[in-house]
Amino acid sequence: MATSEHHLRFEPPGAPHATVLIVPPLFEEANRTRRTLVLAMRALAARGFAAVMPDLPGQNESLVALEDVDLDTWQAALAGVAAEIDGPVLVASVRGGALIDHKAKAAGWWRLAPTGGASLLRTLLRARVAADREAGVASSVESLTEAAKSEALLLAGNRLSPAMIAQLGAAEVQPVEPLRSVALGAGGIAGTPLWLRAEPGEDAAMAGAIADDIAAWGAACGVI
């Protein structure tokens, strides 16, 4: 399955130190951050790293229906992508991407603002409730959660299977080693939480900071 999905890839001018496998946030948050993450990939290439951002099955250009995948599918797909890369791999995940990055074999992991699945699911359910309210339909997080046990739900434009919803609600970030986990702000990445932004934004300075931090972590992991 891994090979059938589109991969966005940037190469450095010479042989890469390592390949950075970018795991974007999940669902709408991926769209909001894509532009800045791709800028970070270009910046990584300028620092001597290859950078790859694969489409997850059911997302972007994938031919797979989102309803047919769950977090297990995504974890396996990323492990498959990592296994096909020549040379050392650094996994760099953002937000909910950190929930699916631990099955890949890597020389190191880097996580930006990792988050649990329960809060992502709560936001998706609330968006559906708010949209229903606007349409004059009464629904609640409780009634939707109950319905999701037996049927797929359309949440903020994503048709999610009962398996996906159950896995997301329970998903926690898994321990990996060696790991650098960074937040926004002092001691972390200077920037704003673009993944929350209603209209997709772009932050070139933040992209540069992300690339610098990943490159330094790569050096600490011994891939340079």
């Binding site: 809060s119 968006a127 559906r128 949209a131 309210r133 606007e134 997080v141 932004r197 209603a198």
Partner: protein, 94 residues
């Protein structure tokens, strides 16, 4: 916000709420600082759609350390900045 000195929790809730709306709606510091009690949100700001409403609720829980029961939510809370601030202050002091 006004000439009347606000108590410390009021000020910090107000600042947290403005920062959160700036992050989610991409308002920028100046527009966020210019919000008044009467500033319209849902239905007034084009960026404030149902997904933004959901994101605001989850971020309010995270940043203000509160739990919002979905029964407490009605359309009025998001009508104006003043309504949202009043709701947040009530939740924080509960």
């Amino acid at each position: 916000m006004t000439d009347t000195p606000a108590t410390a929790p009021d000020t910090s809730v107000d600042a947290t709420l403005r920062a959160l709306l700036a992050d989610i709606l991409g308002l920028g510091e100046a527009r966020a600082a210019a919000l008044t009690e009467d500033s319209g949100l849902f239905g007034e700001l084009p960026e404030f759609d149902s997904m933004a409403v959901a994101t605001v609720l989850t971020e309010m829980e995270d940043r203000l350390g509160i739990v919002i029961d979905d029964d407490e939510i009605d359309g009025e809370i998001f009508e104006t900045y003043g309504n949202l601030l009043a709701f947040s202050l009530r939740k924080v002091t509960d």
